[in-house]
């Protein structure tokens, strides 16, 4: 007994584990930077409307504060607990996704549940829930490096239901996040090439069919067409794309300087505080600022994959991989959209774009990843002799 005690202590005692300081500090840096960009993009318009210039930023500060508390809270919750409550959490999010249809349409979509303080956007919270759900299903295989067709079927159903509901809202960007994250997680979980190519192949067929049989909403189809040829709509969405590219391009190497952005400020670029926040970065801080921002995201992704590698179990690993995939998809599609290499799907930029639900959902995902890090096992250098 006495001889066994130290090693047992070593395995179970994780009080010495520290949170992933790089992960958390990257989130803090990005969020602070985001607030600055929101301020730079909204200040002028608010001044002109004779409102407090910091108004929009202050509102986002509330969400950032709440988000950081969420990071702490979810870091403290043992992620393994989710397995016990998964049906409850999953059921709740599905209910919320149904509930959006009870509320009035805003700008042609039903995505929001109006609650005090802000409009809850269940689709954002569905992202981490779907990741945890898929991770759970994929961690149930007997052979750890193999994925069974049965599991694939299960995650197709479990992820397909919320994805379908989100598509109906409609919110194409968020919907598309789910298959991307699914493929990333399946690959990490050890799915065979045959399985992956089958899934991608049927996905392509489904998309072609959606076009052929008009399953897409008109505005979604139009967005894709305008992405392919912005001249189709030089005044509307094409205008937005062109202006966004011009604003970013005019930043050149080092940008026009903070608060010197004429394009993002002058409302040439619509939505420059939400989906098009990157135009504010590109115009004011230039290529250098843009690449540093991309690099910052890469650091975040790197940390998440390191967490995945060190997680104590397959469930944790796959969650971390899923969160990484989700972030990559958002960053690539969002920035890609502003520079014309991805369609305008309405995906925001993590930690930077204005928006409460999105920020909180990202914060929760980071909190969960941090919890996986905290529970990693064992900590080699803490082993007592």
């Amino acid at each position: 007994m006495a001889t066994a005690a130290p090693s047992l202590t070593a395995v179970t005692d994780r009080r010495g584990n520290r949170p992933d300081s790089i992960l958390v500090s990257m989130v803090l840096l990005l969020s602070g930077f985001g607030l600055l960009m929101i301020y730079s993009a909204t200040r002028f318009g608010l001044e002109r409307a004779e409102q407090i210039p910091t108004g929009t930023m202050e509102r986002q500060m509330i969400f950032v504060t709440a988000g950081l508390i969420a990071v702490g809270l979810f870091s403290l919750i043992d992620y393994r607990e989710y397995r016990n409550f998964l049906p409850l959490i999953y059921g709740a999010i599905i209910l919320l996704l149904f509930a959006v249809f009870l509320f009035p349409e805003v700008n042609g979509a039903r995505r929001w549940i109006p609650i005090p303080l802000f409009n809850l956007q269940p689709a954002e919270f569905a992202k981490p829930v779907v990741i945890v759900t898929m991770a759970y299903v994929l961690s149930q295989s007997k052979n750890p490096d193999v994925v069974g067709w049965r599991q694939i079927t299960q995650i197709l159903v479990l992820a397909g239901l919320p994805a379908g509901l989100i598509l109906l809202e409609p919110d194409l960007g968020t919907t598309l996040t789910i298959p991307f994250v699914m493929l990333v997680m399946l690959f990490a979980a050890g799915a065979s090439w045959k399985q992956l190519t089958t899934l991608i192949g049927s996905g392509v067929i489904a998309v072609v069919a959606a076009f052929r049989f008009d399953l897409l909403q008109d505005h979604q189809e139009r967005r894709i067409r305008v992405f392919l040829d912005p001249d189709l709509d030089p005044q509307g969405m094409g205008f937005q794309l062109r202006q966004s590219k011009l604003a970013i391009g005019s930043g050149q190497l080092t940008g026009k300087g903070l608060f010197e952005g004429t394009q993002t400020n002058l409302a040439y670029v619509p939505e420059s505080e939400t989906d098009f926040i990157f135009t504010a970065v590109g115009e004011q801080l230039g290529f250098v600022g843009g690449v540093i921002l991309v690099a910052a995201f890469l650091v975040l992704i790197w940390r998440l994959l390191v967490i995945a590698a060190h997680a104590r179990d397959r469930f944790g690993s796959l969650i971390a991989v899923g969160v990484a995939g989700m972030l990559v998809f958002h960053v690539f599609v969002n920035i890609g959209m502003t520079v014309g290499i991805a369609p305008v799907t309405g995906l925001p930029l993590p930690f930077l774009s204005l928006g409460g639900s999105f920020y909180l959902a990202m914060a929760i995902s980071i909190g969960i990843a941090n919890s996986i890090w905290l529970k990693r096992s064992p900590v080699p250098d803490r082993l007592e002799p």
């Binding site: 690449v291 690993s317 690539f332």
Partner: protein
């Protein structure tokens, strides 16, 4: 593959995606960065067009009929409107100017991104009040904009025309049109729009963060050119007044008909008419009136649909002088008259009441023909009863004897049916300008109809091929595949009835040609165009469209007979007491029958003076009842003015064709 390896592959993949992003950023910001800077720089320059004042329209003596003045207007410049402020701005403008918010929103959208548009013209007081609180109206300014003014009111409105906003097609067809600047929609305003428009000027300023930081010198607008009409305001006033009186006269005449039990001649109220005075030597339109008319000022600020449909129901926008098509009726007999003389048409030899040797016809009210297959008699009745005796072509024109001109048609039919000469009458008519647009510099110039075998065959084919085709040949017997052109058709044509139709302008042009010896001049209403400082830019020289070879002896005979029409013929009553120059004027009455539910159309065509023809005068009273009784008195007054006679009040003339 092991898990850690798969993670490495994933990281590599993610790294690749981010590398693509960075490369794209390099391309957009470094490779194309300079171009983007230039594009955004240009974008920060805002140019606003300043509309040019439309050129004046003047009469032949330089009297201003239409001009432009500058008035204060509320203008919205979308460059300076923050998209978020749009709704509030529209609401405030709506409340201030009492214009529905939806209308303003529609103008806002129509102006396009970064467009400028005029919300409303305001008076000086309003302009001052708005200027005081411009802070509440971002992007709004008070500007002086040109506005059209029609000094002539509803006079000459059909010639001058009106303005309207360009349609989508207009904008597509003509470059440089602004959707908020009105263009000519009819009349001279439309035909000479490009001369009248002028060139808009430009104000350019650079905007930075919503403030104007620099401004380029303003490029001033070039005012439009002045269009000088051939119409004479003094004569026009006489013609318009006479025309309105003529319409009243027609209704009085109809009351008289009803009083004597002749309800058939007075089925409807007379409401429409047209009159033209044409220079026979050039084709210049010296006067042109169409009634009912309208005031083009109504269109300056846009016309409400109620007023518009009210006027449209009255056909007030229709220029009957150019666009109205009527059977020319007895006025057309002059064409048959000349054909008879020029072509030496032999009169029929086998008809009782026609003497081909002496070239006289018994004008006893009816012509009996026994030519039908079953041998039964066919009776053609004239417009009068009683016996006018045996008349030659001259007397027949003076008395407007239908039977003589029927006989001419019969003669053509008997002598030349089936030969190329069967269309001598139609060729004379076409030569004189019938059956084709006149080429006048106004809109809606229809061709009218001069029927012949070829046309009837074409109609027959079209109607038999496609029963849905609007029927031109109403008679079933013409649709059985056999030759649809009958001898009777030519007889009707000879007296300007049947399917013959012509516009008042065509009649004026043809009489001008007959009077001047055969020259068919293209009619025109614009003499010259000058720039805003008065320099001559363009001059409309007369265009000879055709020259009909006529024996000048025949022309002289026709003119003499036209004079006898007013001295002792069908217009003698109307012209009694004309004045000393009665010997020097002439004309022809006409009473056209159209469909059964309509009253007869009243025509008079005059030539003044006869000795050296200068003017051809046409008066048409739509459903006026009688050419001699109604149209001739109107023409008489116009011709009194032209001949320098004292004008008498208009009274009913003789009810003759």
């Amino acid at each position: 593959m092991r898990f850690s390896l798969r993670l490495t592959v994933l990281f590599g993949l993610f790294l690749a995606l981010f590398a693509i992003l960075s490369m794209r950023l390099w391309f957009v910001q470094i490779a194309e960065g300079a171009a983007a800077v230039e594009a955004t720089e240009n974008q920060s320059w805002v140019s606003v067009d300043t509309p040019a004042p439309r050129g004046d329209i003047r009469d032949r003596n330089g009297l201003v009929l239409a001009t432009s003045r500058f008035v204060p207007a509320v203008v919205v410049d979308r460059h300076l409107v923050n998209p978020e402020d749009k709704d509030v701005l529209i609401q405030r403008l709506s409340a201030l100017l009492a214009i529905p918010a939806d209308d303003i929103a529609a103008m806002y959208e129509a102006a396009g991104v970064n467009g400028t548009f005029t919300v409303a013209i305001v008076d000086t007081v309003e302009a001052y009040q708005i200027n005081e609180k411009l802070d509440l109206f971002p992007g709004v300014r008070i500007e002086k904009v040109p506005e059209r003014v029609y000094i002539s009111g509803s006079s000459m409105s059909h010639v001058i025309g009106q303005l309207g906003l360009p349609t989508a097609e207009d904008i597509e067809e003509r470059s440089g049109l602004s959707p908020s600047v009105r263009i000519g929609k009819s009349g001279v305003e439309a035909r000479y729009d490009e001369w009248l428009q002028g060139e808009s000027g430009e104000v350019s300023y650079q905007v930075r963060l919503g403030d104007v930081i620099t401004q380029r010198p303003e490029v001033p607008a070039t005012p439009g050119n002045t269009v000088i009409l051939s119409l004479d305001s003094g004569l026009q006033a006489v013609v318009e007044a006479a025309l309105i009186e003529g319409i009243q006269l027609s209704n009085e005449w109809k009351d008289g008909q009803r009083a004597t039990g002749n309800d058939d001649a007075a089925k409807n109220e007379t409401v429409r008419g047209a009159a033209i005075v044409l220079d026979v030597k050039t084709g210049e339109v010296v006067s042109m009136a169409s009634y009912p008319s309208y005031d083009p000022s109504l269109f300056v600020g846009g016309l409400d649909t109620e007023t518009y449909s009210l006027l449209a129901d009255q056909q007030a926008f229709l220029n009957l002088a150019v666009s109205g098509q009527y059977p020319p009726a007895s006025t057309f007999k002059a064409v048959t008259y000349l054909t008879f003389l020029e072509e030496n048409v032999p009169l029929p030899t086998d008809v009782e009441g026609i003497d081909p040797a002496s070239k006289v016809v018994h004008c006893d009210g009816q012509l009996e023909l026994s030519r039908l297959n079953d041998g039964s008699a066919q009776i053609f009745r004239d417009w009068y009863t009683g016996d006018k005796g045996w008349l030659d072509v001259s007397a027949s024109l003076q008395e407007s004897c239908n039977i003589f001109f029927y006989s001419v048609a019969l003669g053509i039919h008997d002598a030349w049916d089936g030969t190329p000469r069967e269309t001598v009458l139609q060729e004379m008519a076409r030569g004189l300008g019938y059956g084709a647009s006149t080429g006048i510099d106004l809109t809606s110039d229809p061709s009218g109809v001069i029927p012949d075998r070829e046309l009837f065959l074409a109609w027959q084919e079209a109607q038999m091929d496609d029963p849905e085709e609007a029927p031109r040949l109403l008679d079933e017997s013409r649709l059985d595949g056999r030759d649809p052109w009958f001898g009777g058709d030519l007889m009707n044509a000879a007296i300007g009835q049947g399917t013959v139709s012509a516009t008042p302008l065509q009649v004026a042009v043809s009489y001008a040609a007959m009077a001047n010896g055969g020259e068919v001049w293209e009619p025109y209403v614009v003499r010259e165009i000058r720039d805003s400082t008065g320099n001559l830019v363009e001059i409309n020289t007369p265009t000879l469209r055709n020259e009909v070879e006529l024996d000048q002896a025949n022309v002289a005979q026709l003119l003499a007979d036209l004079n006898r029409v007013v001295t002792r013929g069908t217009a003698a009553t109307a012209f009694r007491g004309f004045g000393d120059s009665l010997f020097d004027v002439g004309g022809k009455t006409g009473t056209g029958q159209s469909i059964a539910s309509k009253d007869n159309h009243a025509w008079f065509v005059g030539i003044a003076p006869i000795s050296d023809p200068r003017y051809s005068v046409v008066v048409l009273i739509d459903e006026g009842g009688s050419g001699g009784a109604v149209a001739a008195p109107v023409a008489r007054q116009i011709m009194q003015y032209l001949m320098g006679e004292e004008m008498d009040p208009i009274v009913v003339g003789e009810s003759a064709q």
